[in-house]
Structure formats: structure tokens, C-alpha cells
Subunit: 190 residues, 2 copies
Amino acid sequence: MILLEGWAARAKDLPSGQRQFAEIHLPGDFTDLHSFTLKRLDHDVVSITPCLFAIVPHERLKAMTEKLPHLTRVYWFLTSLDAAIHREWALSLGRRSAISRMAHLFCELLVRLEIVGMTDGNSYEFPLTQVEVGESLGLTSVHVNRTLQELRRLKLIEVDNRRVRILDVEALKGAAQFDPTYLYLEKRDR
Amino acid sequence: MILLEGWAARAKDLPSGQRQFAEIHLPGDFTDLHSFTLKRLDHDVVSITPCLFAIVPHERLKAMTEKLPHLTRVYWFLTSLDAAIHREWALSLGRRSAISRMAHLFCELLVRLEIVGMTDGNSYEFPLTQVEVGESLGLTSVHVNRTLQELRRLKLIEVDNRRVRILDVEALKGAAQFDPTYLYLEKRDR
DNA sequence: CGAGCGGTTGAAACACCTCAACATTAGTGG
DNA sequence: CCACTAATGTTGAGGTGTTTCAACCGCTCG
């Protein structure tokens, strides 16, 4: 499934009902390309907003691997990029503070939304609830609320009505220790 | 590089020097197969013990994608499996307690070491230092030490001299909320 | 024999969570 | 269009899991 419109996420659940996102999907993302090789997914793909998907049958992908090695490598690259994002998130979850993790999420989304032309300067639509931000960052929604206030107090971002405005990109990147090389922008630009 | 002997890990660093592992590599693992599509890695591959590697040149992999679509899909599957492990680790880091995370790590290693015949019943060599366990679990080495003592106190594991013995596998899996489906054992058995 | 690494311990600090209440916004049916 | 309800966001107080810092121990290795 290729996400054409809307936001989605890769979510894993614990028996207790706790949920953790491993990646947020934006328009243009192939949300479950890895299911071609895995056959079955180890996680859910959940919609954050209403979504529109294009469906690519696995038989078509199999035919691609038989006849189009170059395209196969490009698609393989896409799944490797998802893994790179998972690793960066693991770094966030394991080693960054709540405020740094949140700053990092806003930086990643700014860069990725710019690629697909969904930003307006340093501002973008941000449809996640605070519960969902918590599920991305491994925090409770209560702490998300307070951390968000802290980012506002530091004049790094403004949030109102499902929209984020980044007031000081460099300072936000600094707070996040954000290094976008894990997004492999150079390969996408080609 | 295919790891033939020894243990290694995928590590990411923060400018502060803090380090987080995203996966532990055991003999048989293709430690950097994703570099074939990414060209450059977003992380380090670090050795935990002295290691022996086999080298596969990227030209050979490219030739594989041109002529051996089935093998290409198998190798693609291997990189998707790494991503599945990253996701499970993200779930651990975001939502599991220290003791549950540690129990989960020991469960994962038991299953993966069994596959390559490196277990002796429910016991296996475990060469990680407590600092490295902390880098896997997003904890300080001090807390690793205390959590390890707690697992011992609960009679779930014994640790001595670089070797782990799991005393109660079912109880350990319960503490970890361990569900091995993310390791895709059924695909490896074929 | 000395140095360094890995492991262990205690005390204090703190980041984040829990629980509970309440405010605000959005959605739905009448 | 209003009334009702549910979902989302906000706040306070208190608790707890994990970190920090510092000291010390035992082992290995040069």
C-alpha cells in the first residue's frame, strides 16, 4: 500500500494495551513494502487521519524482481530507509530526554514534509493527538503536554489547531541533536 | 560482511558520547547487507568480541539482483528481518520496564542462538559487559547491575563468568511479554 | 606490581509516571 | 441550531523507576 493522502503509523502493541509507534508515514510512503518479503507483518499500520492508499499486488512486485533489477534495488532501498528511521527512533527512545525526543520528531517531520511539499516555510499541519505523540516518543500523554509547553516556553515552536510552527529551526535542531543524514536525502534527490 | 565468528552490534552515537545499540549480531548474520542499497551506513558496526567476517563485494550483490531474483528476495528478506528486530527494540525502549526489557533481550538471544546451535539447553555464552547491556537497553550500567540482580533474585536467570543460564524460560518470557513472531522463525526453517 | 577494566554498592536527585479532576473542543442526534 | 457526549487537552499532587555521583572491590594483563 502506497500512502497517497493522510498520515499513518507503524504501531506495535503490548498485551497490556500499551502501544509504541516505530515510524510515522506521510504521503508518498510505501507503508508496507516489507510485507513483500516478510509475507506477514509484525506490527499494525494505523491511520492517524483519513487515508487514501494505492494498492500494489505482491505479484507485481515479484514480476519486478524478475525483470527490473534496477527498480528492485530502488524499492529495496526504500525498506532500508525505513530501517534507518527505526534505528534513529531507537536512539531517541534509549538515549534522548523527552524534550530532545520531541524536538527530534518535529525536525524529522519538517524535513520529510518538505520533500513532499507539505510545509509552509517552517510550519506544517500536524494531525497527531498528544496521546499519539506519546506513542511515538514512548511517553505518557500527560508528559507530552508538559514537554510541549516547555518547547513553547523556550520559543522553539508554536502549536495551535493541528498546526506546528517552528520558530527557531537551528535551536530546535540543536535541542534534538538532529543530524538528517539518516534520512538519506542525497539518494532521494537523484 | 557476514559475521562468521563472534558477536557484534549496530551502534548509534549521540554527540554527547552516549551510545545506543539497535541490534546485536550473532554468527550467521549479514551485518551490513543494507549498505548495498544505502551505500553509506547511518550507524557503526562494532565488535563485542573478536570477530571473523566474510566479505561479499557489492558488485557480486548487484550481479545477484540481475540474475538471481529468488536469491535477491531472500537477501531482501534478511534486511526486512533486521528492521523487524529494530521495531521490537523500539517497543522495548519505549514501553517496557528495565526488568522486562532485559528479560526480553535474554529471550531473543536464546531463540536466535538456538538457531545457530550456540546454546547448551537454556544456557549460552554471553560476552556483553554491563555497559554494553545498558547500551542495548537504554539504561545506565549501574541500573543494569541492579536489574540483573533482580532477575537473579526472582530465580529467572543465573549469570556467571560470561555465561547466562535461564532457570525458568516460561517465567522469563512472561516477564518479557516475549512473542517471537517478530523473528520470523517459520521463514528461516524452510 | 601497578594500572585499568568490569562489576558492585549507597545516597541523593530528578525525570517521568500515576491518578484524578477539570476545561475545551469536536462530533452527533434531535 | 442546540444539547449532549465523547475525545482531547490541561493542571496539581504525589509516587517511583532510573540516573547521577562517588567510592570501592576483584581480576586480568602488561
